[in-house]
Amino acid sequence: MSSIKGSSIKGSRRRGIALHLPLIIGTLISAFPFYWAVIMSTHSSTEIFSYPPKLLPGTHFLENVRNLFDAIDFFGSMWNSFLVAVSVTFLVLLFDSLAAFVFAKFEFPGKGLLFGLLMVIFMVPAQLSVIPQFVLMAKIGWIGSMTALIVPAAANAFGIFWMRQYMKTAIHDELLDASKLDGANFLRQYWHVALPVVRPGLAFLGIFTFMGQWNDFAWPLISLTNPNNVTLQVALSQLNGTHGTTDYGIVMTGALLALIPLLIVFAIGAKQIIGDLAKGAVRG
């Protein structure tokens, strides 16, 4: 690790401040919106847009929370987001790693064509599929249900590219050959040889996918037409009333409470998550 040590103590202290000061400012900027959300959720709607902006907590938090739970099914929508994110992550990790393993380590007729197909579709942005998917889902009857969110997302081309790249270098051919001689079939090889080695790559993909699904907004906004069964992001945007009747107290409270679940997950697994991210990114 490079560490720039100054020759004199005074120099190093000055350098220390020069180093830490911007970092601290950056930390404050990173944290400020969270603080703002906390403060705003303790005020009533009319206090929120008064000038000068209030920097200290108010007294309306419980009232806002109560109104929030009346207005939308907060925990229900959070559960839906969680369900979708976990399901998609699981499916993506499973399907993508299976397929990536095949593409990375095996030959078979049609391989080039199939892989080429992936590359082509990967270039295509998501919007291209929105209308047809909507029409298709309408025909199958999935509109308004979480299935419409989970199933299409399970085929993630990025995941295949990522894992294939990872597996190519991480899984040594000798190990595979040795396991074959031991009598391992494909599934055994996959489970016992491949998966353990690529765990950091899987972790990265898993985190990436989970966060992406949690924050998915455009497609759920359109396809979840049952107002009683939506994900968290859509529920938050539902708080926007019509003709100026929005209660900003509950909007801010909703925003604050929506921030909390991921923060808790993060608090538990921060080191792991950041570490996996770093490791995975470097390898990839």
């Binding site: 400020f32 209308i131 040795a178 924050n215 992001q233 019509t242 003709h243």
Partner: protein, 316 residues
């Protein structure tokens, strides 16, 4: 481990005659990729084809489809709102990505040098990414509000006039870009940091012994070695940035009876995807929407190619 005397089972026993067995040999491979490909074909490939088909028709989603030839594409080319949305998207992307990459790199370098509190800093900087994007957009909308927002309060304290952030064309773009920058700087800083940590310390030692200062070290040694990481960050930022939807939509939606996809006064914050949603779902114009989606595709492809070329060249 492997005992060579034992004859290993199925694999090394090719059946001489039937060619049919050739494909069957691979059935487990096809089976392994089939879950992915089934979904992919149904929800990935087919929709793309159908979308192309749809773009040559007129359809409101409820009635029947009418053949429209190239008229949807002609309509698209003459649509000033479409071109406006392309401009908005690219400007917002630029306003967000360049500062973000710069800040992320600088932060990564500083974090690399900071011995103490590194873990704490990494957590703090990653925090903005661990959130609900809609919630954060709501919070930012409040921070940037004209009369009661924090940003204007700070400006006022320093003696500058307040800016109507969400009401002017440039204010809107800057606010959206600020939100995107805030969200992604820390994330990318950590990725850069990981890249930095693969640089062997001896290189820095050697540079210092040659008398190189910190800037020289950075530009001659660090940056070139970071190129793969930089490329990765740039590609991901471009793909996600050009498709931004949530940030502008949430920041600029009003509670009046206007479209929720309008993107503010003068459509200043209407990105390409926002425009697509407006045309498709507000006007129920599915045929035109499909054409818009293909238009967006072309723009993204062109832009990515230009981007790629530029970064490649800079490296050589």
């Amino acid at each position: 481990m492997a005992v060579l005397e034992q004859t290993p089972p199925a694999v090394v026993r090719p059946s001489p005659s039937q060619p049919k067995k050739g494909l069957r040999k691979y059935w487990h491979l096809y089976a392994a990729i089939s879950p992915f490909y089934l979904i992919f074909l149904g929800f990935g490939l087919f929709p793309v084809g159908f979308s192309l088909y749809l773009s040559f028709h007129r359809w409101d989603g409820l009635g029947s489809m009418e053949w429209a030839g190239l008229s949807q594409y002609q309509y698209l080319l003459s649509d000033s709102d479409f071109w406006n949305s392309i401009g908005n998207t690219i400007i917002i992307w630029a306003l967000a990505t360049f500062p973000m990459i710069f800040l992320a790199m600088v932060t990564a370098v500083m974090l690399n040098s900071a011995v103490r509190f590194k873990g704490l800093y990494r957590v703090a900087y990653f925090l903005p990414n661990v959130t609900s994007v809609v919630a954060i957009a709501i919070v930012f909308g409040s921070i940037f509000s004209t009369n009661a927002g924090m940003v204007n309060a700070v400006l006022h304290a320093v003696g500058i006039d307040q800016v109507a952030w969400l009401n002017t064309p440039w204010g809107i773009k800057v606010t959206i870009a600020a939100l995107m920058t805030w969200q992604w700087t820390g994330y990318n800083a950590i990725i850069f940091l990981a890249g930095l940590q693969t640089v062997p310390g001896e290189l820095y030692e050697a540079a210092r012994m040659d008398g190189a200062g910190p800037f020289q070290t950075f530009f001659r040694i660090t940056l070139p070695l970071l190129r793969p990481t930089l490329l990765f960050v740039l590609v991901v930022s471009t793909v996600t940035g050009l498709q931004s939807f949530s940030e502008p939509q949430v920041l600029l939606q009003t509670s009046s009876n206007d479209s929720t996809f309008a993107g503010g006064p003068g459509h200043s914050g209407q990105t390409m995807v926002l425009y697509f949603f407006q045309q498709t779902f507000d006007n129920n114009d599915f045929g035109y929407g499909a054409a818009v989606a293909w238009g967006i595709f072309l723009v993204v492809v062109l832009f990515s190619i230009i981007n790629w070329r530029l970064v490649q060249r800079r490296g050589d």
